[in-house]
Symmetry: D2
Subunit: 344 residues, 4 copies
């Protein structure tokens, strides 16, 4: 079968690989019908996240079960399924609490040895461990390219607002309008945000935010703090979503939140950052941070998609062939795409 593999910074290959087979009793093999390219893939492509050359990459996917071990009961051969970007064991301290993203045995697809040596999903087939939790049937009538989002970026958008305790009637700010930020806008709207202020510097993204029901504010040409004040009687937003992953975005989110508000940090942070704890503390802010519990949110996210209440397909800007992976990655790297869907 064909698989997209990392070669060196800036270069992937489409190579022949042996078809996987179930090993453990709860493994399944999925024929990938569509896979997505995500911001995390780009970190690998650029070499910022290191991975073994030749390792298959990708972690967003929809497909069809072609083989399953004896212990797989939640999906069957022939089922159209989607998967989450990581697996979870279902039995450890964290899984027992339903915090699946922090499973002690969690493995992430397409991230090499450091995250569990699980070959990626930008391939014709993929081996899926713990298939009872990692896979879910796609609801009838839901397209592959919509379902693709449930296992990663839309699950993250949902998490951004639900983990923050958004209540219907709240006002939300979203800092950073990449795919996650845009999904957070959709989730905030569906969860009852009265108003969503969307902040970025890219005109197309601001326009997309507007189409999704948010009020776009340019980060530098306009004044986000003034805009938030005007929208909230001077108070600040109830929930500020930080979907960038750096200190400036985090600082802005802290400034935009009201007293006793929540800052939801879904942007990926990897380094030390200077935080104005004086501001955080005097405002009694709460932080929720880290990877989204995408697996835990799969049921509601799929229900909302199946009901047409969450529709991520406006984010799909490109459909490309698996064989053209190098071109796809270059397109994504040049910020010309929001979401590229690859198919065989």
């Amino acid at each position: 079968m064909l698989a997209v593999t990392f070669q060196e910074p800036g270069r992937v290959a489409v190579e022949e690989r042996p078809e996987p087979e179930p090993i453990e009793s709860d493994d399944a093999v999925v024929r990938v019908d569509a896979s997505g390219i995500c911001g995390s893939d780009l970190h690998i492509f650029h070499g910022r996240v290191q991975i073994e050359p030749g390792f298959t990459i990708g972690h967003e996917y929809v497909g069809t079960v072609v083989a399953a071990g004896d212990g797989v009961s939640q999906v069957s051969v022939g089922d159209r399924v989607l998967g989450t970007f990581h697996s979870a064991c279902g039995h450890c301290f964290f899984c027992r609490k339903g915090v699946f993203q922090k499973c002690d045995e969690s493995r992430v697809f397409g991230h090499g040895k450091t995250l569990g040596s699980l070959q990626g999903t930008q391939a014709e087939q993929v081996l899926v461990p713990h298939a009872n939790l990692t896979l879910r049937r796609v609801p009838e009538g839901l397209s592959n390219e919509a379902a693709l989002f449930a296992g990663d970026v839309m699950g993250t958008g949902y998490h951004a607002v639900v983990a923050a305790g958004l209540e219907p009637g709240d006002t939300v700010a979203v800092v950073g309008l990449g795919p996650v930020g845009l999904c957070a806008i959709m989730a905030a709207r569906v969860a009852g945000a009265a108003r969503v202020i969307a902040i970025d510097m890219v005109a197309e993204r601001l326009e997309k935010a507007r189409e999704l029901g948010a009020e776009p504010v340019h980060l530098t040409d306009e004044d986000p703090r003034a805009a938030v004040k005007a929208a909230t009687d001077g108070r600040g937003v109830d929930v500020a979503v930080e979907a960038v992953g750096n200190g400036q975005a985090l600082d802005l989110a802290c400034r935009l939140a009201r007293k006793a508000g929540t800052v939801s940090v879904v942007g990926v942070h990897a380094e030390r950052t200077e935080v104005h704890m004086g501001v955080v503390w005097i405002k009694n802010l709460n932080f929720v941070t880290g990877h989204a519990n995408v697996m835990g949110h799969l049921d509601p996210v799929l229900s909302l998609m199946a009901a047409g209440r969450l529709d991520p397909t406006p984010l799909v800007t490109h459909h490309m062939k698996l064989a053209d992976a190098q071109e796809a990655y270059e397109t994504y790297a040049e910020h010309k795409a929001l979401k590229i869907v690859l198919s065989a």
Copy 2:
């Protein structure tokens, strides 16, 4: 000034009454621009809820502040305001917990001696105690007849789903499609319900539910339990709202809820009822019951109305004059109206 007073079962009068004046420092007087007739008013009209003859009735209202004591800081003379159906002291054990509807000093407008001897709002003016909590400014651009709902029936619809812990993606059933049930549909939609199953026997109400985004099911001509099963993979709904107030509706709600689901009892119960506790217990159901915390929900409800995300005005079927109160009550008693708005 003119006021609508209870006379005897089936008869109200429009009588001259002295204009009220602030007595306590946190009292205000409001010139009533619009008041609503509610199901509770009908209980008084029919004599099922007893009240002193000559007592002014009504508890839904929007108006303009015409006088305010020294201690009133949250609204000013001249402000367009709406009020909640009851007052709360702001200081007792329950108010300190934010459970304003169970305030130890709570008084309900227009319900006579038993609920605090507070003259009603179907009048040209009304005295409002504890105005800092009981009144709120109407957001700019929001119509009087929309704002009217915030202080009672829409606050109750919001409470029905929020107090039940509805999470975005849940499926909800609403049993009983009077004004509260219909507002619960709107609130469930805005709070992220993936699907709302709406159950009643009146064709017009089922049609209204459909227009509001719910899936109508006739209580007897169709099979609500089968409809819920079909919508939920056989599981039952996450939240079942009982908006009728009798044993059969409560029993149906318990049957429709999934295991570990929540039954939200906003229909008014006043009597002993046979409950199949065996069903309740084996399903691990939770109940939330009682008066809505309308005062506690005022900020989010008004934010949602101001943003156009909650719009109760489709429920207003009649506009009538205060002077025609007898005719208005008769119309409501004949179930020809969902909401009648009275104005001077």
Copy 3:
């Protein structure tokens, strides 16, 4: 091996049975070192809960793993373990939410065909399905007879107060002082109840409650409502635990709860019951009901036991031999024991 089997109402036998072997990859076999007799066993003994003659009974147990399938990773052969009274699949809608007690594939030990045909634990060995979730290692230093409680009755006591949302400083009433009620007292104390009012009619149980830190009140010789009023400035308790399972106890719990309080129904209900919904509704009571999520509470309950903060051993009144099961059941049936521990 020897096993205690149901024969006919009022009679059990100790019979020879074949030793079990793991069948599924996540099965384990446990050599039972101690098992308990529980109120539910008594329902079987009396024939009120029907079960096939010859079926092995019992569902509380501590023991040693003697065999385990390939897929068992959380415990190993040789580990001292305790089990929960039921198994759960770990993958269904309810397990994914952490509501393990309502697992779609849940099976209860020792309850015959209707609850999953899982042979009981009052035997020398027991087959344990889904061992990764159903078993847990006994913390070092914790005795078998303490650990025994974690998988059923103490987990239920913990659930009674935690599922009810008890906050440190609350006042709690416990109606019914059998083992579950007494465990609820312990859990309420450990969770920070300022005061616990304990209500029953049996002098020994009231005395036991007093020893555990509660304030005992005799149901009929004293006046529980007056006692609760005196303890709460006339308000009623924040949480009322109903640990009996009938209409009178439920009604009393509703009377004892304060406005907006919670009634935690852990007593088993199987029938229709008359509930004064007028009282429930006007007081804005919440109900939480049903089987305890014992599996979900295993980590904290064991931590508290290991730390010596929860100690159920004062409830163990009898140690008997498996071979003397008939005598043990008769003793329990005569209400002469709180907890009987059987060992081979």
Copy 4:
């Protein structure tokens, strides 16, 4: 009357001041029977927090109501009362949510113009605004010096664990064993912490922590991270309380918390701090920060004190006379005292 006033860094005076009188209808005047010296007072004493010379300082107090306006209903002249360190209006957006510590009109006793020009409580009498919320009756049988803690430091200890969502059975670390840290230990124990690891460098404080039921670990002589790992199967604590207020303590708290754990920042932060957001994010940590909601916690904290379950009196190391305020402040500044109680 006599009052302790700030003069210049390092010097207070005891001066004659006019007795206060109620001005607003909900004002009360309290004769102070006991007042405490707190860490925040020390910031003023040292000049790190600026305040007008001659301003009366202090904000912890117990006393007797000697005058009250017409609108004061929750306490009466003659009542023995305690007060919170700040006042709250009871009507603003934040008070309506029960977030009293962020009241838009909040004023802090004894902190000069910047925090509302409210004369302090280290005086023979004090004027108390919004007395219905700011004062509470001392439960019968509770000593003045215990009650003193409820309105500030014990309310903060309670907040540290309750706002962090501590569940019974959790393991807690407390970094910093000043009065707030020690109160957090007490609160963690009462709220059901299975184990509390207490970290500091001062031997006396570690010993006090041990007496209160915690496991003391010396910050530098021992290895807090190793100690926490040993206590938690290598996982880290569920809740880490940071009760110091600097970057190193915050960093340590983040290291000690388990994945998806909560860091409760009650130590006062006023400046920019470097935070290892990479650690925070990859561990999915939550932060709760800021002033404690002491007013919101007054009911449960007093219930626990009245029941003898929270007893802060072991923290009182010195009783001194108001007239000896200079000496008292010097003693406190030399870290020779945990809590000094002043009386006339």
